[in-house]
Symmetry: C2
Subunit: 379 residues, 2 copies
């Protein structure tokens, strides 16, 4: 509970809401009549409007990327290690915009919002979103904020996919694209893990076909299992070994079918339960589907270089050695396609034991490289 | 449906049942008053009783390892590629014994058996088994069959752990130990995957605290999810990519929250559903617990070489390059400990794209190496 914020914090921040009344056409063929996006901004937009940076969030992320909502808030925003005065995304230089994606559950229009057509929550009737849809909705937010071109669009994991898509969908509106711990598309194994998470939610009797809100219940078990599976893929085998090893929860084994014996079990159950109380099950399904569908190369018969040919941005791609969800090999696919398309690309593979989660962690070499790239951006 | 069996098949086989009336003390502190083990044998025990080979099964395995129960059986036993005339475990030379482990659900005493104390199925009251318990129960089966010493004990995955434990618990009763695609203990990540599977079963409303049989239901959803998670860890990322890639189930995407879009989703759902109809949920819990608990080095403060010092067997350790459930590094831990304990050990790392499942697949180099080791065993 910081009463005085540290010098490198953006300090107190207040979420804002943008309303959009013009219908948004979606990849699924449907459209959203109107919608709202919740967002935060850090730093000041300069007179030339040339210093704006967009932050795109990953599966369970939201708009609150940096600073504190109140002096009582226990933890700062999810990417506070990278956004603030003197940090990689330096708020003394940049005007940073961070939003909750459409379909989210943190204030932007999503499955738990009321469907104006029925007066009830959308639930599973909410349209499925794609990364392209998100980018289009984000472009409207840029319009509203008077940002014609982003100095940079930055994201990790699913956020990196949005940054890539920006360079493809709106090439003239993005000068730098930073895709961190990301991939050009999911592998069969990635989809398989998503499918386990979805089945856990879909088969939870409390899911009620996605209309659980009307029943005043939540599919807690399904969400818990989904998060547990997710967590395993966010950490490296080594990181888990280092953190928990085979450490026991109690002094001795219980030898039964249900007790928590090992610390790693206890950790996963806690993570799963905590998550199931705060995240919307339909949003989880929607986010995993958006991940599955992302495949920009498909527009050119699988040739990513052709898809990226239209991009005008410079690129920075970063990966982490022990990330097995989106391994360095997946980042190199992006880099290879960019090189084949004759784009400017910087690539860094960071030696880090933390697995996929590394992109959220203040690893010195990572912060240094990230800062170094951002510092070179002209505004 | 072979009406004439091929020359390298053991042909028609008939399971047998062994009853044990003497109580078996278990690692958990409880004991089983009496129990039965279902087993099959292939080949003939020689006059010197020196040619017996024990097959130990993995998580979802059973006694039916080779041949056919009837001419109508669609598929032979689960390790038919490795057991039979001219195969690695050559039934012209060896007398092979394959059993369903205690706690299983294929005929041996387990959670779905009737508890003589209550007249109802044990359910989750069945004692938790450890690899040591299994080895002790297998030793009694050896006694019953008049086998003082196994020429070899052979197993893959959890089966390899049993083979290792044989060399430790009964050093004088095993001449060769073959541990394939195995590990000296589970890593935190291995335990974590098991815990997700267990939570899927335990939180299924149809689980009823493990007494679902009395309610005439089965926790189908939980078992399905458990199997789906398992399947992902049995295959390599490459194997999944090769088999399914991002291939679609239908010609076009459905863009909704629940449809099967990709072939890999369809495959996993099928595997999960098929499994949930044939496997006992309590046995699944028990098997994953036995995996978690296995840690022979714990007896010597984590020093596996010290634990293995008492072994008298020769060892053959094999691993597969793309196995990420029990990677080659885990097999090398066993090999290093055996070398430190000055035991005879052959080690082979087989280049195979199939992941953990490779140990069940007739990969030429694997079969060749396996045969070569078995052929050198004197009987």
């Amino acid at each position: 509970m910081p009463t005085v914020f540290s010098e490198d914090s953006v300090g107190l921040v207040t979420p804002q809401v943008a309303h959009f009344a013009e219908p948004l056409a979606l990849a699924c063929g449907r459209s959203l009549a109107d919608y709202r996006l919740v967002y935060e901004t850090y730093g000041e937009l300069n007179a030339a409007r040339s210093n704006a940076v967009l932050i795109c969030h990953a599966l369970s992320g939201h708009h609150h990327a940096a600073g504190y909502h109140s002096a009582d808030e226990r933890k700062p925003g999810w990417w506070d290690s990278c956004i603030g005065p003197g940090k990689p995304i330096d708020t003394r230089k940049f005007f940073v915009v961070s939003l909750n994606n459409l379909g989210g559950c943190n204030g932007s229009t999503g499955p738990s919002s009321v469907n104006p057509a029925t007066g009830k929550p959308f639930g599973a009737d909410f349209p499925v979103m794609t990364v392209e849809d998100w980018v289009n909705s984000q472009a409207r937010l840029a319009d509203l904020l008077g940002i014609g071109q982003w100095a940079a669009v930055v994201g990790g994991s699913l956020g990196g996919m949005q940054a890539l898509q920006w360079s493809i969908s709106h090439p003239e509106r993005i000068r730098h694209c930073l895709a961190i711990a990301s991939a050009p598309k999911l592998s069969a194994q990635n989809i398989a893990f998503n499918e386990v998470a979805r089945q856990a939610i879909l088969t939870d009797p409390e899911f009620h076909g996605g209309h659980f809100q009307e029943q005043n219940v939540i599919p807690k078990r399904g969400l818990m299992l989904a998060r547990m599976v997710g967590h395993i893929t966010y950490l490296s085998d080594d990181a888990m070994g280092e953190k928990f090893g085979r450490g026991l929860k109690s002094e001795k084994l219980n030898y039964d079918f249900h007790s928590v014996e090992f610390q790693v079990e206890s950790y996963l159950r806690y993570q799963g339960e905590e998550f199931s109380g705060r995240f919307d099950a339909n949003t989880y399904l929607l986010m995993t589907k958006a991940l599955d569908y992302f495949d920009p190369a498909a527009a050119h018969a699988g040739d990513l270089a052709k898809t990226l040919a239209a991009a005008q941005a410079d690129f920075c791609v970063m990966s982490f050695t022990t990330d097995w969800r989106f391994s360095p090999a997946r980042s190199r696919e992006i880099v290879d396609a960019l090189l084949a398309a004759r784009k400017n690309v910087s690539y860094l593979e960071i030696d880090a034991p933390q697995g996929h989660d590394a992109f959220l962690i203040p690893i010195p070499r990572y912060l240094q490289a990230f800062s170094s790239y951002m510092n070179r951006i002209l505004v």
